[in-house]
Amino acid sequence: MLQYAALIPFFPLAGFIILGLLNKRLPKNLAAVIACGMLLISFGLALGMFMNISGQSQEVQLAPWINVGSFSASFTFLLDPLSSIFLMIITGVGFLIHVYSIGYMHDDEKHNIFFAYLNLFVFFMLVLVMASSYLLMFVGWEGVGLCSYLLIGFWFKNKAYNDAAKKAFIMNRIGDLGFLLGIILLFITFGSSDYHTIFTKANGFMSGDAMITTITLLLFVGAMGKSAQIPLYTWLPDAMAGPTPVSALIHAATMVTAGIYMVARSGILYALSPISMYVVALVGVVTAVFAATIALTQNDIKKVLAYSTVSQLGYMFLGLGVGAFSASVFHVMTHAFFKALLFLCAGSVIHGLAGEQDIRHMGGLRKKLPITFITFLIGTLAIAGIPPFAGFFSKDEILIHAYSSNKLFWALGMLGSMMTAFYMFRLLFLTFSGTYRGDSHKVHPHESPKVMTVPLIILAILSTIGGFVGVPESLGGTSQISKFLDPVFKPAQAKMMMVEGSGGVSEMMLMGITITVVLISIFAAWYMYVSRKSVPVSEGTKLPFFTKLSYHNFYVDEIYSALITKPLDKISELLKNIIENKVIDGVVNASGKVTEWVSGLMRFVQTGNVDFYLLAMVVGIALIIFLKLM
């Protein structure tokens, strides 16, 4: 079975090529079928691989790519537990979202292109996680960036969308530069970019080696860009400009977790550098809290989810930072389930309300969209971390590890999950409970078609039971997922000599604290938005200071544009008008002007009077004779 696994990425690629070339000539339904079919095949293969992998890891060489002397990179895939889990997530969730899109994009005239892009994205994403070398991973890495660009700006008539797309691409590029330099350094240090070579050689390095630290930090810059961590997170909320399935697939379930995948993959390198680990954890936790605070006040249903994604990604990095690799991967999985679910629900709501996204104009949709409501509720419970839903186990494991390595991180994480619970339930209540606040004459809220609700239900089930693959020992479970991933992370764990857990008892206690905190904030949300029926104020009205800050994303975008974008344009103009035109070109042109001017002078010397000529001659002669003979 494994030997076929190498084919997984090529089905979506085929789908892309078919759809891309035939494009309009293909009837919409057929196109949709092709796209989903390709995904389904890949999923089947991925499943088979997942079944048969059982801890082994195997490389499949496809073709050489770049060879320059010692330097060489090839198209080689690596099949091991880690990649297999990601393959499962990508193809599985991807497939569901494809199906969902059939309904969601049905009336769009660029329907076929949309599916082509989706397939292309899946292809690159699969390349990313299956790559056996950093360079090949970079291929997928940039490829998904491109697809995200294409899909965010999918409705390219709208300038704001295009700007969002461009912003996403360029911010990712900033991260990519770090990644690229990291790769180059890896080449220079290890003479290769293959995981295998690097990780084996890495064992020879002392912990805290400067070069390793540099490399890991550079790689982490890449992760920051791709996984929207501070300070490169601002593109993700804007990326919600794209169609909702895109937000679900790319900006929640898969692409944004590439950063986590990369760090987890290079676990051994990070393990060798405590500083990097600390940085990762710190950035993660700060992002988690910061994004959560912003999410508290957003009124756009997708914006809330976007910030919550950023925040959740922060948790994952926190997990990585404190050495809980498998926990983070676990959280990636559960998050994929419930966040995809939430986005799709949001999509179904938007679909039901004919494009309305502002929660201030929603409410009381419980009746109108029952399935959506139920599934959304499940998703919310999952993300809030209520047992036994998926989110609880994964997030809790991370928090426990955080506690055991650094109490402050744990406290912050706790604060974060408290806010998470609050803003998620705020969202839930404002959307579904109470009475409908929109204009009920224009808009007639309605439940979405089957093709959209079925994926919701499946995802809901997954977000309910998905957590049980990782029930910790303390709850009498056998956290299978960490066992499953052990072969990948063992060497890293070994390097870290970390304190395993902190005693069953306190684990129980920590869980208790978490749950209670979460329940309290849920109650607070209920009190505010259900019993007191308070609704966020409409635009323009004066907000309290903190609320204002949070509502405007702490003005980070403004700060960036003031500090970077605008100055650069100024400099550009300056260089062109002053340095280029005046100085450099000025000198060049001056040479010509001076010649002309001197030539003008010379004309006066040629007076036309013979006696002057004669005089000049004689003077010349006199000079020569004098100089030579005296």
Binding site: N67, G143, I170, I184, L185, V588, G592
Partner: protein, 481 residues
């Protein structure tokens, strides 16, 4: 002998082209250049992967001065000849029927192809110089006769500027020639030995003489000010020739002549020239941010890219050189494609002003897609032709000195910024007055752009196809120093 055939054939067609009936002019030029391409493709495919020169022919030309007509191809030359013969048919094909005096135009293009091939195959310093100069004449007339409104001033500036460098190179060549051992000769090997035998001081001075010639041609900051004017004022085909192929003469000159002759000169000045190149990368890139004219924007982007290539080559290690080679090809292909797209847009809308365009994708999805792919090549997305080159170049520079590598790496961000800006403002968004009734690509335009797109992908996916050809020559070069 094959090389002679190439040269004579192109030259002959250039002459004949002047006299055949106008209505066949286009077809004739295109077909003949196509034949040249096919033949050189054959040469390329049958090219043995060895370090030494192939198809060498050596006639004594001016006995009294030891000047020979000596030509040959090694891995590097053959790639550039391929580039030339690949692009020329496309460029010829891209000429609009409305062009006045078409025959002269085609002949000049063919003549230029001859000269360019000559530059890439010369193995005799004097011959190299002759071809180097001859290549200047047709492009000068192309710009002068078919250029924009300010052409007279700009072309003259361009000509004198480039010639300045060339003449200094000539002095340098003569100087080296006079230091060749025994019976003086311009043979490339003799010049190598002569150059190496010089004192460090002499090498440094000569280094700057040659740098002037090649630096102006490429152009390297701050010798570049002729270039944006010329690019934006020349007819598009002229611009394609200049940016696509002619600028490669400079880079080729670095690799083939300057560095092997003056290793010490390089090692002593590498710091300065590399910082110059890197400065150019950032400088031009940042200027490109706010250009209003598409051609100008591309001109500056080209300066930026070339700066990276130069830096990689001056770093003078395997990655740098190989990256330089592959990037020469991809840059040539990309820039020609981009300039042609601009030409299409201008011919449709009558403007190159970015602000007054937009929404083209609504009217012309094909154009939009092709443009996008070529642009991705230009911003070095993996699996497009830009990536292998830029990656190798950056790593080459990085190897030479980390800081430089990090700084020059910024190009991948800067490039993305201006390219995507231009793309968004011209292709995406709502249509403007200019683009309201924009028509999509004609068959002819597709015929030009499709091959380019194919090459963009091909080089991106299997660069080895080309890298392996030039590798032995590069290794020999590295070994020789």
């Amino acid at each position: 002998m094959p090389i002679i055939a190439l040269l004579i054939f192109t030259f002959a067609t250039a002459l004949i082209g002047l006299f055949i009936p106008i209505r066949y002019g286009n077809r004739f030029a295109f077909i003949s250049s196509l034949i040249v391409f096919i033949y050189s493709l054959y040469l390329f495919c049958t090219f043995p992967i060895t370090a030494d020169f192939q198809y060498v022919v050596d006639y004594s030309w001016i006995q009294s001065l030891g000047i020979h007509f000596k030509v040959g191809m090694d891995g590097i030359s053959v790639l550039l000849v391929m580039l030339t013969t690949f692009l020329t048919p496309l460029i010829i094909f891209s000429v609009r029927k409305s062009e006045p005096r078409p025959r002269a135009f085609y002949s000049l293009l063919l003549f230029m192809e001859m000269a360019l091939i000559g530059v890439f195959v010369s193995m005799d310093g004097f011959l190299f110089y002759i071809f180097w100069e001859i290549a200047l004449i047709p492009i000068y007339f192309i710009c002068l006769l078919w250029g924009g409104k300010d052409r007279v001033r700009i072309t003259l500036k361009f000509f004198i500027y480039t010639l300045t460098g060339s003449l200094f190179m000539l002095v340098g060549l003569i100087y080296l020639y006079l230091h060749t051992p025994g019976e003086h000769s311009f043979d490339i090997q003799a010049l190598y030995t002569a150059g190496k035998s010089l004192s460090a001081h002499a090498q440094c001075i000569l280094f700057w003489f040659f740098f002037l010639a090649f630096g102006i041609k490429m152009p390297i900051f701050p010798l570049h000010t002729w270039q944006p004017d010329t690019y934006s004022d020349a007819p598009t085909q002229g611009t394609m020739m200049l940016s696509g192929i002619m600028l490669k003469m400079g880079i080729y000159g670095l690799i083939r002549w300057m560095i092997p002759m003056l290793p010490v000169g390089l090692s002593q000045n590498a710091q300065y020239v590399m910082w110059l190149s890197i400065a150019g990368v950032l400088y031009a890139g940042i200027i490109a941010f706010t250009r209003k004219d598409m051609k100008r924007l591309l001109a500056y982007s080209s300066i930026s890219h070339v700066g990276l290539i130069a830096a990689g080559i001056f770093a003078f290690n395997g990655q740098g050189l190989q990256g330089g080679i592959i990037q020469m090809l991809s840059h040539g292909i990309n820039v020609v494609g981009l300039f042609f797209v601009v030409d299409i847009i201008q011919s449709r809308t009558g403007t190159r002003d970015i602000a007054s365009l937009g929404g083209i994708r609504l009217k012309a999805p094909y154009l939009a897609t092709v443009f996008a792919i070529i642009m991705l090549g230009a911003v070095a997305l993996p699996l497009t032709d830009g990536f292998p080159g830029e990656f190798l170049l950056i790593s080459g520079v990085f190897k030479f000195e980390n800081i430089m590598g990090a700084v020059v790496g910024l190009t991948i961000i800067i490039g993305a910024v201006y390219m995507f800006r231009m793309y968004q403002r011209t292709i995406l968004g709502e249509t403007s007055l200019a683009t309201e009734n924009f028509t999509d690509l004609t068959a002819g335009e597709k015929a030009v752009l499709i091959p380019i797109v194919i090459m963009v992908i091909l080089i991106g996916v299997c660069p080895n196809l080309f890298l392996k050809v030039s590798e032995p020559a590069i290794l020999k070069l590295l070994g020789g120093i």
